[in-house]
Symmetry: C2
Subunit: 351 residues, 2 copies
DNA sequence: TTGAAAGCGCTAACAC
DNA sequence: GTGTTAGCGCTTTCAA
């Protein structure tokens, strides 16, 4: 910048003004400066600017695994929305470990960002209380955060319940659960399992322990293996509720391995409504949280904190609305359950 | 830091030394400083440190779309490898547009990073020549870069050729192509199409124009629609080579729509060897570039430039080795084609 | 072993 | 409209 100033025969301040397209620079001077910039190949130093201005114009999104389709699709949504609002957004990976999440929330780690959206798996309200973030943070994830930070969650329990009721409505009675390894009492998989039990109870069906398989990780490989395990156990089943679509796709594969027709012999419902659910054979019925709503809400909350609006609402847990995307894997007739409460449902869910 | 220094009754320099675990600080002083840090909740200011040191310890990975499984899986590989080497790596999205890629390569944009891995779609050697990056850049993508930057590419033409030869080996003769919209003369989809033609020529088969469908975007939706189009055209076909696995999964879905059995009536091969290829029904035969090799090579090249090693080899195009992952969609018998030339193959490929 | 001074590149605030 | 001054928070250098 010094060089540019010398080359153009002006002060660094004027260069700064030109670079930032500020008013109050005469046309001939501006032209001279621009020429000097082009000549010297000058580039603004972002670190210096950040140091001075205290902001970066960049938002962070921390996810457990960048290669999980759910997070990829979430990231794409958030990035394009952020771009529309004038922010750049970059993604980083926490590896789904508590230390990774704490590192992400740790201020020194994300001073690179003006704000952070953290997709949490391990972290909980106590962690936030013990190391409160210095920059605005919004958490997306399952665990209630009890007013420690803004929190956007899925309708885990309610969505799972709806899925199971749907299976029963189609005529299934022996509904298996393929679940995920619970990390804590209130993670997504545990909540979805609770929703599964809610529905069975409502239906007057017993939750046969033989019909529940819990996986160490929620992968397609696991889903496939879970079906093999169910077959080995020998208890007959005529439907499977899988805790995620990724698992459900593995379940479809496992059922194919076992020679079980879908939906003829076994109906299947997943959770997440990934793009992939449309294209599997058979296509996958899935609980479809409103992803756009989630991405939008998380970003809006973050930007509200960022702008430091005094009138910003107090931190709270927000739960996404959902619907059931009914496709081939659960049978023929069409029906759509919708969450009744509109954009933000109370945690308790609909009656 | 000032505050901490005052609190501990030392100079800021000593605080800096403690924070950076440098030698030459007596134990009692160190203890006092640490206590002061804890008390004041001090966090180093990353921008200031970057300004001073001229480096950030962060690498960037710019991909066209974060929600394409291929890029998600690539990112996961690169991030964990970078972490092992002591670097943090973040992902950003170029939206696959030339301006996005130029923005990413533009120095001011990635001064946040010590180096950048750019997965290019639109950008080419001329762009690089006209705006040479100020920090080290490695390009992953299809187009040859003619020695302008380090470049890691897939064996596009050779892999496609192998896929088609495999289909013919299984008995197919009317092999359809479901291709991607070409952006330029040497993008991945054009090269793969060339490989398809190479194989047909070798086999003495004609490339029937009716059997080639080019999609505007390489999506599952497109693959599905392409099959419908092939069926509409009425020219019989007994195999499909799809330019990516994502497209191929849509093709499988489209074939199911059309009531065509895979591999009974139509054999299918994709390209990329996504995780998903293992779990589709039927599972998908796919050209499998060595993804670990690609991620590793790209990162090694970047780090070599970063370290400023004078003995670093000149920039060059590197092409990944590959194999064919044979699964259900192409028939029964097992065989594995391997690229013969080892880790780095000349662009020309094997005879 | 510790500290003082200077400056990384930028910009807000104020003079001219 | 343009220039001067000062300082963001850190670290390199050199002196104590």
């Amino acid at each position: 910048m010094h060089d540019v100033a010398r080359l153009a025969g002006v002060s660094t301040m004027t260069v700064s003004n030109v670079v930032n397209a500020r008013a109050g620079v005469s046309d001939p001077v501006r032209r001279r400066v621009l020429a000097a910039i082009a000549d010297s190949g000058y580039q603004v130093n972002v670190s210096a600017r950040n140091l001075r201005s205290g902001r970066t114009g960049v938002l962070g999104l921390a996810v457990p695994e960048v290669d999980r389709p759910y997070f990829g699709q979430l990231a794409a949504r958030m990035i394009s929305r952020a771009a529309r609002l004038g922010y750049r957004m970059v993604v980083e990976q926490t590896a789904g470990r508590l230390d990774g999440e704490l590192a992400a929330i740790e201020s020194s780690r994300h001073q690179m960002y003006d704000g952070l959206v953290l997709c949490a798996v391990g972290i909980g309200p106590d962690d936030v209380r013990s190391s409160p973030p210095a920059t605005p943070v919004v958490v997306m994830g399952e665990r209630p955060f009890e007013g420690t930070v803004d929190h956007v969650a899925m309708p885990n329990r309610e969505g799972a319940r709806t899925a199971v009721l749907h299976l029963a409505g189609r005529g299934s009675r022996a509904i298996a659960l393929v679940g995920g390894g619970a990390r804590n009492r209130d993670d997504a998989f545990t909540l979805r399992e609770a929703g599964y039990r809610d529905a069975l109870a409502e239906l007057g069906l017993v939750a046969h322990p033989e019909l529940a398989v819990r996986l160490p990780t929620a992968t397609s490989a696991g889903g496939r293996e879970a079906v093999a395990e169910l077959v080995r156990r020998g208890t007959p089943f005529d439907a499977v509720f899988a805790v995620t679509d990724t698992v459900a796709l593995g379940v479809l594969r496992g059922l194919a391995d076992a020679g079980l027709a879908v939906p003829g012999a076994v109906r299947v419902v997943g959770y997440d409504d990934l793009d992939e659910a449309r294209y599997s054979v058979p296509s996958l019925t899935s609980v479809a949280p409103d992803h756009d709503w989630m991405a939008g809400t998380a970003l809006d909350l973050l930007l509200a904190r960022l702008s430091g609006a005094r009138d910003a609402p107090p931190v709270a847990d927000h739960i996404a609305p959902f619907r059931l995307a009914v496709r081939e894997s659960s049978g023929r007739a069409a029906d759509q359950h919708r969450s009744p409460a509109g954009p933000t449902m109370p945690s308790a869910g609909p009656p």
